[in-house]
């Protein structure tokens, strides 16, 4: 009797007691009407005198306009970086270098609230994430690498090291400030100088960081920030006086960069796409696993290269896990990124939303069952309900390709060997997750999964001291931790 009933039971999350809007106060942040390029410690007009709009993806309103750097601007930035490298930065005592970086870390902390607001306005991510994750982690990253500056002799056994020179760095739109920190902090701590290009839809926090850098008194030209789209990035990649390219973004663009720098002496670090398998065994702590899956896929609207977009559930607990996931997404709040209660903000751009919608249609056509939460969406802006696909086959495109949105594909498995084979059956190898209460199984799984970051009984955790980066087509080189130093150094015998 009870059994039959249990299939129809449903919890009601449409509660009479609900949360009032709790928007963060926009006026705590200052955004200029127009941003120029940050070259050689100063704000410089783009030589083509072109600017492009940056909008708030939550309401499509213009926030500011940003300079579009052309080849001449990039060249000026590289010259400034080269000059700063040769004349100042590589000669400066390492501990002084470190102190500048500590200072930047502190100033990010001081302006944390403002940075968080701008990050959410410009990129659409919920303020809870930019406030509690992006901004503090960015500051921590500077703090971590600042300390390395004068300790590099201890980092590599039996080797000394020297900086590479000028690093060209191109970062994506999903964690704008944090990625800038991931790139700039290790580069300048190891004695390199930097030309960084933020993504064109999310330039503002990088420019705000430029203001902080200016205020910190960092020598002119050590960090240069040029804004623009693909052409600006190409100008950096192809500039002959750049020694190192560090790129985070799509595998497609990563491959173009790999080809472009062939025949040069440029070193590269590529942090590319991913499609992580998150594996739940029947003996897992199910409720924490469900929460880990939720964080794994809905963190930052699923705009995360290491997101756990591929859920493998052991068949014996699949029903339970799916029911819990369905319940859980009912309590996710989609809406105004500046509202402190928002769990899922706006999709970063119209283009990205179209990509996600395309995959939702593909998924349905392929015969997978789509389930979306019943939440309401704002009228304007770019939005996507948290989405689950069940009855997914491994050959389905939604199980193969990177959707980069709040969309989870759920597959089932029976044995350990089966799931490890399937999880590794991907050209990507950035991250993976495994949930089980059995210690030996954890070590077996984490060892056999071909991925650069493996989360066991947790997911989507990041830390400045923890190396991050991929196997296979997810790129090479590591960012974070001791291992994040090497991509910016030559070792000397």
């Amino acid at each position: 009797m009870a059994k039959a009933k249990s299939n129809t039971l449903k919890l009601n999350f449409d509660t009479s007691w609900s949360y009032a809007p709790a928007p963060e106060n926009k006026s705590a942040a200052t955004i200029k009407k127009q941003y120029d390029l940050f070259i050689n410690g100063d704000w410089v007009k783009p030589s083509g005198n072109k600017y492009f709009d940056t909008i708030n993806p939550a309401n499509e309103e213009k926030l500011s306009e940003v300079a579009d750097a052309n080849m001449a601007d990039v060249d000026a930035a590289v010259k400034a970086a080269r000059n700063a490298y040769e004349k100042i930065w590589k000669k400066m005592p390492a501990k002084e270098r470190g102190k500048y970086i500590f200072r930047i870390a502190r100033m990010i902390q001081e302006k944390a609230r403002e940075l968080a607001i701008i990050e959410s306005l410009d990129g659409g991510k919920p303020i809870r994430e930019s406030r509690d994750f992006d901004v503090p982690t960015a500051a921590n990253h500077f703090f971590y690498y600042a300390g390395w500056a004068d300790k590099l002799d201890y980092a590599f056994p039996n080797r000394l090291s020297e900086p590479l020179g000028v690093a060209g760095q191109i970062i994506p739109w999903n964690f704008p400030l944090l990625m800038a920190a991931w790139k700039i902090a290790p580069a300048i701590a190891t004695g390199n100088t930097v030309v960084l290009k933020p993504a064109e839809t999310t330039s503002l926090t990088a420019l705000k960081l430029a203001e902080i850098i200016q205020e910190s008194g960092l020598p002119e030209g050590v960090v240069n920030i040029v804004t623009g789209a693909g052409a600006t990035g190409a100008a950096i990649v192809n500039h002959p006086d750049i020694n190192k390219i560090a790129f985070t973004g799509s595998t497609e663009v990563g491959k173009i960069i790999q080809r472009a720098i062939a025949g040069t002496n440029k070193k590269a670090t590529l942090e590319l796409g991913g499609k992580a398998a998150n594996i739940i065994f029947e003996d897992a702590p199910i409720d924490q696993a469900v929460e880990g899956v939720i964080n794994g896929i809905f963190f930052n609207q699923g705009h995360v290269c290491c997101s756990g977009s591929w859920l493998y559930v052991q068949e014996s607990v699949a029903k339970e896990v799916i029911r819990k996931l369905k319940d859980r997404i009912e309590s996710l709040i989609v809406g105004d990124p500046l509202d402190k209660n928002t769990d899922i903000g706006a999709i970063n751009s119209r283009q990205q939303l179209e990509t996600i919608d395309k995959y939702l249609n593909i998924g349905k056509k392929e015969g997978a069952e789509m389930y979306q939460s019943s939440c309401s969406l704002p009228g304007k802006g770019f939005w996507c309900r948290p989405t689950l696909f069940t009855n997914v086959a491994q050959s389905n495109r939604i199980a193969q390709e990177e959707i980069f949105g709040p969309v989870l594909a759920i597959l089932t498995f029976r044995t350990d060997d089966e799931v490890i084979e399937k999880a590794n059956n991907s050209p990507y190898g950035l991250s993976a997750g495994v949930w089980t209460d059995k210690g030996s199984k954890i070590f077996n799984m984490t060892r056999r999964m071909r991925a650069g970051v493996v989360w066991a009984n947790t997911f989507n955790k990041f830390d400045p001291s923890s190396p991050f980066g991929g196997y296979k087509e997810s790129g090479f080189g590591r960012e974070g931790g001791l291992h994040g130093l090497l991509p910016y150094l030559n070792l000397i015998n």
């Binding site: 009870a2 009933k5 249990s6 039971l9 919890l11 009601n12 999350f13 449409d14 509660t15 009479s16 007691w17 609900s18 949360y19 009032a20 809007p21 709790a22 809870r128 509690d132 003996d283 897992a284 702590p285 199910i286 409720d287 924490q288 696993a289 929460e291 880990g292 029911r323 319940d327 309590s331 402190k340 209660n341 209460d437 009984n457 947790t458």
Partner: protein, 306 residues
Amino acid sequence: MKRSESLFAIPDFSLSPRIDQVGAEERASRFTKRSIKKESKLNGLKLVLNMIDLTTLEGKDTEGKVRQLCYKAMHPHDAVPGIPTVAAICVYPSMVKVAKKTLGDSGIKVASVVTAFPSGQAPRDVKIRDTKFAVNEGADEVDMVISRGKFHAGDYNFVFDEIAAIKEACGDARLKVILETGELGTFDKVRRASDIAMQAGADFIKTSTGKIQPAATMPVTLVMLEAIRDFYYKTGRMVGMKPAGGISKSKLALHYLVMVKEVLGEDWLNNHWFRFGASSLANDVLMQIVKEKTGVYQAANYFSVD
């Protein structure tokens, strides 16, 4: 129902789901990120007040003290209109009669702690008599403690049978089963004890006696709420939740409310299925309600102690 008589219907409690502590704590802390403002705050505070089991469990309790507390329960703060009463008064068995009499037809329930509260170290027949006494005196609800020693020794049958026996002794009174989570040691054991209690017939599961630290925490309450949800899905039977001890501030109580809302939803968001076991929480909630209504921060001197 004895466990031994229905061996096939009752799960092996050593197989209760495992809980990852860090994950549970992370999830619990996520609830505290909800920002509760304006009308949502006011409504939440009223709901909290209405869920309180106003408690006095001291050796020095007197009829006079209990009568005052009952009056407070019925008239928390008459200076401001529209303020609800608390859910229940929670006292020792010897105080049930006077509480019942004072509360009259106010609708406020009388709960009594039983079974050699707080240690539970007494023979079963004593515990049963303790329970029957409280019920005969008029208790609407009975808060028992489980035998933690037997539980730690792995004698789950004993714990199960004891709860079932007390449930039988309760008659129509609702049974709250106190796990005393501060003595259980791990979330795995909290989950296991929750499963035993619900399976044995508990109407409520409750974290703590309030005599042991730590008492209620958000993570431990989360683990129990999730056990309630799983039990509901398995059997269709609703079980109530009562965190007790350590919740003295409105803000924390609202976080608990958020947790109930997001784990169990609408059906549990009322004092039939959710209670706070607390003594000083009520006044803090009252101060916050008045602050919300007047816009002025309040001082304790303007709110009666009892």
